[in-house]
C-alpha cells in the first residue's frame, strides 16, 4: 500500500482477478495474485522477492506475504517444509497480499498439496513434473499422481519438467547436478516474468551483483532465467499459458523503491536518531522475526550507530539503557518471548526516566508459539506487561512503509519525554515488502535533544529529577563536570532523586510518571478517519497490519451503500485525545484483530463503549471477505458472519494443510 487514498479510486476492487475482480481496458485483470510454493530449500522467498522487485519496477502497486516454516531446512519434500511467497499486484492501489491466488507455482507435490485448495477455481497452476516422483508423492501423502488422476480438473494445469529444462539450460556451465537444480527457481521466475510482461534486466543485474565472486553461477542463473522466459515465449503452448500485461498504477510522481518492514524500521530509527541529533546504540539478540533489524543496522554505522549483539535479551536492553544513560539513543528489538524477558529492564527505564526505543516484531504466542507466523497478541504485554504502574507510549505500524514514520515517532517521543517507547510491528509487516516513495530528509521536522550542561539548581546540588512543564526530567550525561548524581530503580525524592520511599513521595512520583505519559496524548496527531465519515452507523477500528484487509472491506461495503467507516489507530498508548469522542459518534464499533480481543478491551476500558470483537488467531492475516461478512452483520437484511471468532481459512497462507502430521 503506497498511500491511503479515500473514495476516489472506485474503479474496481484491488483484490480482483479474472473471475471476481475488475478489468483493465484491454480485458486484462486489474490485479493478480501469484503464489510461489516449493521446498524450503528451493529458494521460494528469493524468487518471490525478485518477482516483487520486477513488479515494482514495472510500476504496479503490490503487497506481499512471505510464509516459511520455522525449521531452517525442514526435511525435503515434506508438507511442513513448504515455503511460500504470495504477491498481489495490480494497476490500482493494493493494500493486502490478496486472499486467494490466481496463479500457483508448485515446485513439488507437497507444495501443490498445501496450496492448491487456495487457488481460485479456473486459476492457473504451474507444476514441475520433474519432482512428481513416487518418493515425493508419498512424502506429500498423495496416493495417486494429481497431475494424472484428474483431481486438478477445476484449474488450468500447466505441467512440465522444469527440473529437466533447467538442467538443459545450464548444461554449458558444467555445474554439478545439485547446483544446477538450484537454478530452477530462476527458470520459474523467468517464466513468471514472461507471463506478466516483466523486464528481466533488473534481475540480470541483481544476479551479476550477487554472484560477482562466482561469475559461472551468475551466468548459469541468468541462462536459467532466460530459458524460462524463452519457454513462455516460444513453447508451443496455447491454452492456459498466456501473457498478461498489468498496467502501471497511477502513483504520485517521485522516486520509489520496495521496502520491507524490517528495513523501514531500521531506516526510521537511523533517521529518528539523526533528527534527535544523537548517536544511536542498538542492543539486540537473535530472534525470529526481529533479527533483520540488527542485520540492517550493522550496515549503517556511518550514521553514528553502534550495534551490540548481547548474550541474551535482558543484556540487550540493559546495554541499550546503559548507552542512553551515557547520552546515546538506546534501542533494542525483539519479538514476544524476548520482550517478556526485557520487562524488568523496561521498568528501570521508566523509573529512571531514560529514553529508549523497544521494537517488538510480534509473532504468534504464547511461549515460543509460532515463530514465523503473524499475530497481534502482544498488545496487552506492550500496554500493561510490567510490574508496578509502569506506563510507556506504544505505537503500532500498519504497513512496511508506515513503519518508517512510526520508528521516527518512537525516537521523538522517547527523547522528548525521557521515556521508553514500544514500537509494535509484526512478522507480516517485517517480512512483507511494498513500494515506497522515498522521502526527502529535508522534509522531516528535526527534534534535537539537548543535555543539561550546567546545574539547574544554582547554589545547590543538581536536581536530576526536576521536571519541566511537561513533566520531563533533564538528561545528564556522565562526564559532565559538576553534575554528578546517582539514579536507580528505587523510588526517589522529588527533584533530588535521592532514595525516598515515603508514602507521599511514591504517590507523587507515580502520578508524575503517569501524567507525563498521559500528556503525550496532546502531542500526537488527533485521530483521523481514513475512509468514510466522522460519524454514522458503524466504524471498523483497526491497528497494526490489519490495515489492508480492513480498508478494502470497508471500501467494498461502502460501494454497496453501507454506512461504514474505517479508523486505524497508530498511537495505542496514550490514545489520541479525540478518539473516545470520535468512536462515540458511531452507533457500532467493530474491532478486527489477530488476537482474542485485546484492543477491543482497551477501548471498552477507556471509553465505556460497546466495542465488538472480530478475532483471528490462525497465524493467517484477515481475508477481506471475512471482514466484509462481519460488517454486513451490522446491516439489516444482509446475512453474513457475525462478530466473534473467524474460522481457519483454507485459501490463505499459511496453508492449513501444512501442519506436521
Amino acid at each position: 500500500m503506497a498511500t491511503i487514498i479515500a473514495e476516489q479510486d472506485a474503479g474496481g476492487t484491488t483484490q480482483g482477478s479474472r473471475l471476481s475482480g475488475g478489468t483493465q481496458h484491454d480485458g486484462a485483470p486489474e490485479a493478480v495474485v501469484v503464489r510461489f510454493a516449493g521446498d524450503s530449500g528451493d529458494g521460494m522467498q528469493l524468487t518471490g522477492g525478485q518477482f516483487t522487485l520486477s513488479t515494482a519496477l514495472a510500476g504496479n502497486d503490490l503487497a506481499t506475504f512471505p510464509d516459511f516454516p520455522a525449521e531452517i531446512r525442514a526435511p525435503q519434500g515434506t508438507l511442513f517444509g513448504v515455503s511460500a511467497f504470495q504477491i498481489n499486484f495490480g494497476s490500482s492501489e493494493i493494500t493486502t497480499a490478496g486472499d486467494a491466488p490466481d496463479v500457483l507455482v508448485a515446485m513439488n507435490p507437497a507444495a501443490l498439496k498445501t496450496n492448491v485448495q487456495a487457488l481460485k477455481p479456473g486459476g492457473l497452476v504451474v507444476i514441475d513434473t520433474g519432482e512428481f516422483n513416487k518418493r515425493n508423492l508419498e512424502k506429500a501423502k498423495y496416493e495417486t499422481n494429481p497431475v494424472e488422476d484428474g483431481s486438478l480438473a477445476k484449474w488450468d494445469v500447466l505441467a512440465f519438467d522444469i527440473s529437466a529444462l533447467t538442467l538443459e539450460a545450464v548444461k554449458p556451465f558444467g555445474l554439478g547436478n545439485k547446483e544446477a537444480l538450484r537454478c530452477k527457481n530462476m527458470w520459474t521466475l523467468g517464466l513468471a516474468l514472461w507471463m506478466f510482461d516483466r523486464d528481466r534486466k533488473p534481475l540480470v543485474d541483481w544476479l551479476n551483483g550477487k554472484f560477482a565472486k562466482n561469475p559461472v553461477l551468475a551466468e548459469a542463473n541468468i541462462a536459467a532465467l532466460n530459458a524460462g522466459h524463452a519457454y513462455g515465449e516460444t513453447a508451443e503452448l496455447s491454452g492456459p499459458l498466456r501473457k498478461l500485461h498489468i498496467d502501471p498504477v497511477p502513483s504520485e510522481p517521485g522516486l520509489y523503491r520496495t521496502i520491507t518492514g524490517a528495513e523501514a524500521v531500521s531506516l526510521g530509527l537511523v533517521a529518528g536518531a539523526q533528527l534527535a541529533e544523537l548517536p544511536m546504540f542498538f542492543g539486540g539478540y537473535p530472534i525470529t522475526p526481529a533479527s533483520a533489524i540488527l542485520h540492517n543496522l550493522v550496515k549503517m554505522k556511518e550514521f553514528g550507530v553502534t550495534t551490540f549483539q548481547a548474550e541474551d535479551e535482558i543484556a540487550a536492553i540493559c546495554a541499550a539503557i546503559g548507552a542512553s544513560y551515557a547520552g546515546q539513543l538506546g534501542v533494542t528489538s525483539s519479538s514476544g518471548p524476548g520482550i517478556a524477558l526485557k520487562g524488568e529492564a523496561m521498568g528501570l527505564a521508566i523509573m529512571t526516566e531514560l529514553p529508549l526505543v523497544i521494537v517488538n516484531s510480534q509473532r504468534g504466542g504464547p511461549s515460543t508459539g509460532l515463530p514465523t507466523k503473524t499475530e497481534q497478541s502482544d498488545l496487552y504485554q506492550a500496554v500493561y506487561g510490567r510490574n508496578g504502574d509502569a506506563a510507556l507510549p506504544v505505537i503500532a505500524a500498519c504497513s512496511p512503509a508506515d513503519a518508517f514514520e512510526c520508528a521516527i515517532e518512537a525516537c521523538r517521543l522517547a527523547t522528548q519525554y525521557m521515556t521508553p517507547v514500544m514500537l509494535l510491528t509484526d512478522g507480516y509487516i517485517g517480512n512483507a515488502s511494498e513500494p515506497w516513495k522515498v522521502p526527502d530528509p529535508a522534509t522531516f521536522a528535526p527534534f534535537p535533544k539537548s543535555f543539561l550542561e550546567e546545574t539547574n539548581n544554582p547554589g545547590g546540588k543538581v536536581l536530576p529529577f526536576k521536571r519541566d512543564e511537561k513533566g520531563v526530567r533533564p538528561w545528564i550525561k556522565p562526564g559532565t563536570p559538576g553534575l554528578m548524581h546517582r539514579i536507580g530503580g528505587i523510588e526517589k525524592a522529588i527533584d533530588t532523586g535521592n532514595i525516598d520511599y515515603a508514602p507521599d513521595v511514591h504517590q507523587a512520583q507515580t502520578d508524575a510518571r503517569k501524567d507525563k505519559v498521559d500528556g503525550i496524548a496532546n502531542d500526537i496527531p488527533a485521530q483521523d478517519v481514513c475512509l468514510g465519515n466522522p460519524s454514522g452507523k458503524l466504524v471498523v477500528v483497526g491497528w497494526g497490519s490489519t490495515f489492508g484487509p480492513i480498508h478494502q472491506a470497508v471500501r467494498r461495503a461502502r460501494r454497496q451503500g453501507f454506512d461504514v467507516s474505517h479508523v486505524h489507530v497508530r498511537h495505542i498508548w496514550p490514545l489520541p485525545a479525540n478518539l473516545g469522542e470520535l468512536l462515540g459518534s458511531y452507533e457500532h464499533v467493530l474491532v478486527p484483530e489477530m488476537n482474542t480481543g485485546q484492543f477491543k478491551t482497551v477501548l471498552r476500558d477507556q471509553y465505556l463503549i460497546d466495542a465488538r470483537p472480530l478475532n483471528k488467531v490462525s497465524g493467517q492475516p484477515f481475508a477481506i471477505g471475512e471482514i466484509e461478512d462481519a460488517i454486513a452483520s451490522f446491516f439489516d437484511g444482509v446475512p453474513g458472519h457475525v462478530e466473534g471468532e473467524v474460522a481457519v481459512n483454507e485459501q490463505q497462507l499459511p496453508s492449513p494443510e501444512a501442519h506436521n502430521d
Binding site: 515494482a56 519496477l57 510500476g59 523486464d199 533488473p202 541483481w206 502501471p248 497511477p250 502513483s251 504520485e252 510522481p253 522516486l255 520509489y256 523503491r257 520496495t258 531506516l267 537511523v270 533517521a271 539523526q274 546504540f281 542492543g283 550493522v298 549503517m300 554505522k301 556511518e302 550514521f303 553502534t306 551490540f308 548481547a310 548474550e311 535482558i314 543484556a315 540487550a316 540493559c318 546495554a319 539503557i321 546503559g322 548507552a323 544513560y325 551515557a326 547520552g327 538506546g330 528501570l348 529512571t352 522515498v438 526527502d440 530528509p441 529535508a442 546540588k461 550525561k477 556522565p478 562526564g479 559538576g482 554528578m484 548524581h485 546517582r486 539514579i487 536507580g488 530503580g489 532514595i499
Partner: protein
Amino acid sequence: MNDMTPITTTLKDWETDQEVRWCPGCGDYAILKAVQRTLPMVGADPKNTVFVSGIGCSSRFPYYVESYGFHTIHGRAPAFATGIKLANPDLDVWLVTGDGDGMSIGGNHTMHILRRNLDCQIMLFNNEIYGLTKGQYSPTSRVGTSSPTSPIGSVDRPALPCAFALGAGARFVARGYDVSKDLPEVLIAAHKHKGAAFIEIFQNCIVYNKDRFDDFTQKAVAADNQIMLKHGEPLLFSKGTKGLSLDLETLSLKVVDVVDGDWQAAGVALHNVRNRGLAHMLVELPFGPFPMALGVIYDDPAPTFESAVVAERASLIAGKTADLGKLLAKGQTWTVEPEASHGLMD
C-alpha cells in the same frame, strides 16, 4: 581505568551527603572507605567516574560515592556497564556486585563481560549469603550452611568466583577482604589494568553470616592462613617459614617448609601474574590444607572490547559518508514521472 589526566582529590571529595544504610559493623563500610581512599591515589576524576551496581546490599554502593552512579536491576550491572562504556569509552567504570547478584542471577552477564574484556573494575563482594533478602544461602555458601531456606544445612556445592572468572577468560583476577590493609593496593592494580579486572572481596555479613572468614582474616591466624601474592616474589607464608612449591609428580602445588629463609632450597615457586596455569592452581587451592591466596593472582592484559568495537566501526565506515537521503534511496529504485504512467528504471 582510563587515560585521562590524573586529577587531585581527597577521600572527602568522594563522599556523598547520603546516609549510609548498611548494618552497623557490615564489611561494606570498610570496602567503601578502601575505594574512597583508592580513587584519589589513582587520580580518578569524579565527573568521569561511574559506579554501576545490580541489586543487593553491596549494590547500594553507588549512592555513597560522589561520582556518577547507576543502581540498576538484579544481576545485570555488567550489561549496563557495557552499554555505558561503548557509548563513552572515556568513562572510568566500576561495577559493584555480590555473590548472589554476580554469581547467581547475573552469572551469565559476569561471564560475558569477562570474556569480552570490557575495560572496567568488577568488585564482587562475597559474603557467602543473601543479606538483603534476610539470610538465605547463596551460590558461594559452603555446603552445610544453615539458613532459612536450608534449615539443616545447604546441600549444593559452592561456586568459586575467581575460578569462574578465569574460566570465563578474565585477564585480571585478584582477591582481597573488607578490612584488609592491602585492599587499596589490589584496587590500584585492578584500576591500572586495561580490561575487565575482577576482584573478589570477602566481606563479613555481620547479621546473617558473621565471621565467616575469620579463619584467615583474624590477626592471630592471618600469617599462617593467608598468602599475599606479589609478582616476582616467592610464594611464602607463615612469616616465611612455609611456601608453595610445584609437585612435579602430580603437577599441583604443595606446601613445603622453608628452613632459615632458604626458599630456593625448599623449591618454593615464584609468583608470576602472567602465568595463567599458576593462576588456575592458586584460585583452586582448597582452604585448610592450603592458605587463602590473596592479592593479584593474574594480570595479563589483552585488547579491550570497547577498543575492538571502536576499531571495527572505524573500518566498517571508512570512506563512507552519512548521507541520509542516499541511504533511504538505496537499492533498486524507479522514478514515476509527473506525466507518464509508466515506471522507469533509475
